[in-house]
Symmetry: C2
Subunit: 473 residues, 2 copies
C-alpha cells in the first residue's frame, strides 16, 4: 500500500482561473513521457489485467445486476481494489428495477416440429404465446406492416448484423432489439422474435435490453440464435409455421447495487481526476468476460501499475466499476448525478467496454489548447500499434456517457471489435475467449494514457454544460 499523499486543493481554483482567460496550452513534461514508456513496457509484459479478469469471471461468474452474484461482485471489487494497493476504495449506491430470467424455450409446431434456441430479451415479460410466424427482413419492413396485420401472430425480424472492426453494425442490431417489440405490439403481435444482434453462427442467442413504449402492452420478446433464425426462415419459406414460445422472466421489484471506486491518489493535485473504468455487472448467460470483466481488468490493472510507482503522478487516477450498465446505464447515470458538481475536476474520462481486442485508435474531445499534449499521448501509444482515430462525433463509452454529456472531456481507446459480437450477450462470453497478449496491450494503453493525463499540466476542457434548452412551444 502506497503512502497516501496529502490532498492539495489547488486544482479547482486554477481551472476556474483558466476558464476566465484564454486557456493555457496543456503540456506533458518530458519526464512523464519517459516514465510512461517504462510503464508501457511493464504493462505489456504483465498478466495483471488477464488475472483480474480471470478472478472476476471465475470466482463470481455471471453477475446480473441485482442478483446474489452481483452483490458478490461488489464485494470482490472492493477487496480486489484493496489488494491491488489502491489508496482509497469506496462504493456508491445505485438503485434500479430488477429483471430476472428463469427459463425460456421455443418450438416450431406441426409437421416440422423442432426446438429453437432462444433467449428472452432483457425487459421482456414472461408468458406463453403460440401463433403463426410472420417474417420481416428488417425493422423497416416491420414498421411498414399495416396496423392490425399482426393480430394473433408472432413477428420475426430476420436481419443479419454486419461484422465490423468498429462494431457499427450493432447500431442496427440493437435498434431491432430496442424498437422491434414495441413496433410489433402496436400492430397486434402477441410475441416477438428476432435474429440475434450478433455476428456468430452458433446456437447462442444474444440477449440485451429492450423497452416498451408507454401505453404499449409488453409482449414476450426473444432472440433466436443465428442458426435458428436461418432455420426458421427456411421453414417459413416452405409454408406457414406456428411457433410456441414460453418465457419465464420479468421485472421483480427493486435492488440496490453499487458503483465500486478505487483511487490512486495524485501527488500534487489529488482532487483532479482521471476517470477510467468499465462495468461490473454482466448479463446472466455467460460469465461476462469480454462484457465487461475485461474492462474491469484492464482499468484496475492500469491504476494498480501506476499505483506501484515510487511517486504517484500529480493527479488522481480514479477507477470506477460501474453498476448495472446492461439494463440501462444505471451506474453511469448515478455516477453523473453524484458527481455533476465535480465535472471540472474530472480532467478526462475513458471507458473500456468493448471486449478485450487490441486498441487500434486513440482520440479525444481535447480542445485546441490540449491538442499538442494529446498528440504526445498518441506518440506514447503508437508503439502499441495505436493510430489516431477519426475526428469528431461522440466517443464517450456508455457508462461515462451521462457525465460526458454534462461536460466532462472524454478519450476513446477504440478496441478491435471484429469478433466482439460473436460473443457479446451470449452464454459463450467466458474467460477462455480472452487473449492474454491483447488484454495486456489494452492495459498498457490505459496505463500510458492515464499516467500521462495525470502528469499533464493544463486540462482537456472539461466544463459543466448548462442544462439543455427547452424547445420553444
Amino acid at each position: 500500500m502506497r503512502q497516501m499523499a496529502a490532498a492539495v486543493f489547488l486544482g479547482l481554483a486554477s481551472l476556474t482561473a483558466a476558464a476566465d482567460a484564454a486557456p493555457r496550452p496543456a503540456r506533458i513534461p518530458d519526464a512523464a513521457l519517459v516514465q510512461a514508456t517504462r510503464l508501457r513496457e511493464q504493462a505489456l509484459a504483465s498478466d495483471l489485467a488477464y488475472r483480474i479478469t480471470e478472478s472476476l469471471t471465475t470466482e463470481v461468474g455471471a453477475r446480473l445486476a441485482g442478483s446474489e452474484a452481483d452483490a458478490r461482485a461488489v464485494a470482490w471489487a472492493e477487496a480486489r481494489f484493496r489488494a491491488l494497493g489502491y489508496d482509497r476504495v469506496w462504493k456508491e449506491p445505485v438503485t434500479f428495477p430488477v429483471w430476472e430470467r428463469r427459463s425460456e424455450r421455443a418450438r416450431v409446431l406441426g409437421a416440422n416440429a423442432q426446438a429453437l434456441a432462444v433467449t428472452a430479451l432483457g425487459g421482456s415479460p414472461g408468458g406463453t404465446v403460440e401463433g403463426e410466424v410472420v417474417r420481416f427482413a428488417d425493422l423497416a419492413a416491420l414498421e411498414a406492416a399495416p396496423a392490425g396485420s399482426l393480430t394473433g401472430k408472432i413477428a420475426f425480424v430476420d436481419f443479419a448484423m454486419e461484422r465490423a472492426r468498429d462494431g457499427h453494425g450493432y447500431s442496427t442490431g440493437s435498434r431491432i432489439r430496442g424498437r422491434g417489440p414495441t413496433t410489433a405490439a402496436t400492430k397486434g403481435a402477441i410475441g416477438y422474435l428476432m435474429r440475434s444482434a450478433g455476428t456468430d453462427s452458433h446456437r447462442m442467442p444474444h440477449t440485451g435490453i429492450t423497452r416498451f413504449d408507454a401505453g404499449v402492452t409488453p409482449i414476450p420478446s426473444a432472440a433466436l440464435a443465428a442458426p435458428d433464425a436461418m432455420q426458421l426462415a427456411r421453414l417459413v419459406a416452405l409454408g406457414p409455421q406456428r411457433v410456441h414460445v414460453t418465457l419465464d422472466c420479468g421485472w421483480n421489484g427493486e435492488a440496490t447495487s453499487y458503483n465500486v471506486i478505487g483511487e490512486i491518489r495524485g501527488s500534487r493535485r489529488p482532487d483532479e481526476i482521471v476517470l477510467i473504468g468499465g462495468h461490473l455487472d454482466s448479463w446472466d448467460l455467460g460469465t461476462g468476460a469480454i462484457d465487461d470483466a475485461a474492462g474491469i481488468g484492464i482499468t484496475m490493472a492500469a491504476g494498480a501499475m501506476i499505483g506501484r510507482l515510487p511517486r504517484a503522478p500529480a493527479r488522481t487516477i480514479r477507477v470506477v466499476a460501474f453498476a448495472n450498465e446492461e439494463r440501462g446505464l444505471y451506474g453511469g447515470k448515478a455516477y453523473a448525478a453524484a458527481h455533476a458538481v465535480d465535472i471540472a475536476k474530472h480532467i478526462v474520462g475513458a471507458e473500456s467496454d468493448f471486449g478485450a481486442g487490441r486498441v487500434y485508435t486513440y482520440r479525444s474531445s481535447a480542445p485546441a489548447a490540449a491538442q499538442a499534449a494529446d498528440a504526445r499521448i498518441l506518440e506514447a501509444l503508437a508503439p502499441l500499434g495505436i493510430q489516431a482515430g477519426p475526428a469528431g462525433g461522440e466517443g464517450a463509452g456508455p457508462d461515462i456517457g451521462p457525465i460526458a454529456a454534462q461536460g466532462m472531456a472524454w478519450a476513446q481507446l477504440a478496441q478491435d471489435g471484429t469478433d466482439y459480437f460473436d460473443l457479446h450477450h451470449t452464454a459463450d462470453d467466458t474467460f477462455d475467449k480472452i487473449d492474454p497478449q491483447a488484454i495486456a496491450q489494452n492495459a498498457a494503453a490505459y496505463t500510458v494514457f492515464a499516467y500521462l493525463v495525470a502528469s499533464m499540466e493544463g486540462d482537456f476542457g472539461s466544463t459543466p454544460k448548462p442544462p439543455p434548452a427547452t424547445a420553444a412551444p
Copy 2:
C-alpha cells in the same frame, strides 16, 4: 423414374466359381472411366447433396432414434428416395431401447455459485446428485483412484481432446465417455462429469452414448462444455467445490424404426450390390447436419446422379439410411443380420459418417486381384484432391462395420475431420455449418466410386467369414 431392369441372377454363381479357382483380376472398362469422369464433373457442379441435407435438417430437424421426429425422418427418406428416381425403395425394421433427454442442469454451489453448461450422456440415468468434485486429468488417473475414494463424490475427468484431420483424438474422448461412468461408479462416485469429447471452445456440451457394466449401478453422467470444464478446473484449484447436477433423462421402453433403403438397379448384374449410405438418426441437441444428414445427402445424391444416366451400370447401387447409429449401431447390426446370407453379393460397402469436410484419401480392403482396378478408382478420384490412404487397419464405417466384420469388402473415402469435433453431438450441429463446395466434392467422390465398382468386372473379395472360433477352455 427409370425403367426397372430385369433381375439377372448370375452374380452369386460366378462369385462362387471364382472362389474355387484363383481369382480373376478385377477390371474397370475404359468406357466406365470416361463416364465416371463425366459424372464427377456433373456432381461437383451439382448442389443436390447440399439440398438433400438442407431438406432433412430443416424439415425434420433433430431426430433422436425412436422419437416422433425419427418416424418423420423415415417417411422423409422413403419419399426422398422416390422423388430422386430410385428404382426400389423399402424399409427394414430395427428395434431398440429408447433413451430420452428431458432437461438437464448443473450448478456450482457456495461462494462461487454459478451455472455450468452440461448435457447428459446418452444412456445416463436421470437423477439429482450433489457432492464435492474430484478432478482427474484423464481416464488413467480415474482408474488409479483407490476403491471407495470417491464415495459420495462427483468424479470429473478433465481431458482435452486433440484436434486431428483423421479425428484420432476421438478414440480417447469416446473412451472417457464410454468407460468413465462405470469406472467412477465402481469407486463410489454418485455422479460423473467429463470435459466434452470435442475440440471447440463454445458453451456447447457434446453428448454421446455411454454404457454401464453389468452389476454396476448407473450414476447420472454428463459432459461439460469445454469452457465450463476449464472453469470448474480453475474453481477446483481454488478450493473444494460442491456441484449440484439434475438430469431428467433415461431409458423408456422400446421402439421400432427403420433402415430405409433405395436402389438404383444394375443393368446386367442387379443382384450384385455396391452399398453406400449414412445414418438417418441424429442426437437430439442439434439438427444432425454433419452427423449425419451430410452422409445421407452425399450418398443419396451419388445414387441419384448415377440413376439419371441413360444406362445404369452393371451392378445395383444400394443406398442405406441406417437407423439408430447413435445409441449403438442398431441399424448396422440389423442390416448385417438381415443380409448376412448375401455377403458375397455385397461387392463393397462405403459409408459417409464423418461430416461434410472434403474427402482427402481413398483406400479399400481390395485383395491383390482387385488392386489394379482399385488403382483406377483412385485415378478417377485424384482430380478431386484425393490421395491414396494408408494401407492396413480397419476402414469400414460404423454402420457397415457389422456386415464388414462378417466378410463384406469395404472402401473408405476419408473426410477431413479437422473441424468435425467442434460440432459433433452438440446443439451446434446445424445446416449452416455445411460448406456447399465441400459436400459437392464428397458427392462427386461417392458417385465416381460407386459407379466404377458397379461397372467393374470382378470383385473386391467379399467372402462370408466363418464365425469366430470359441476360445479353448
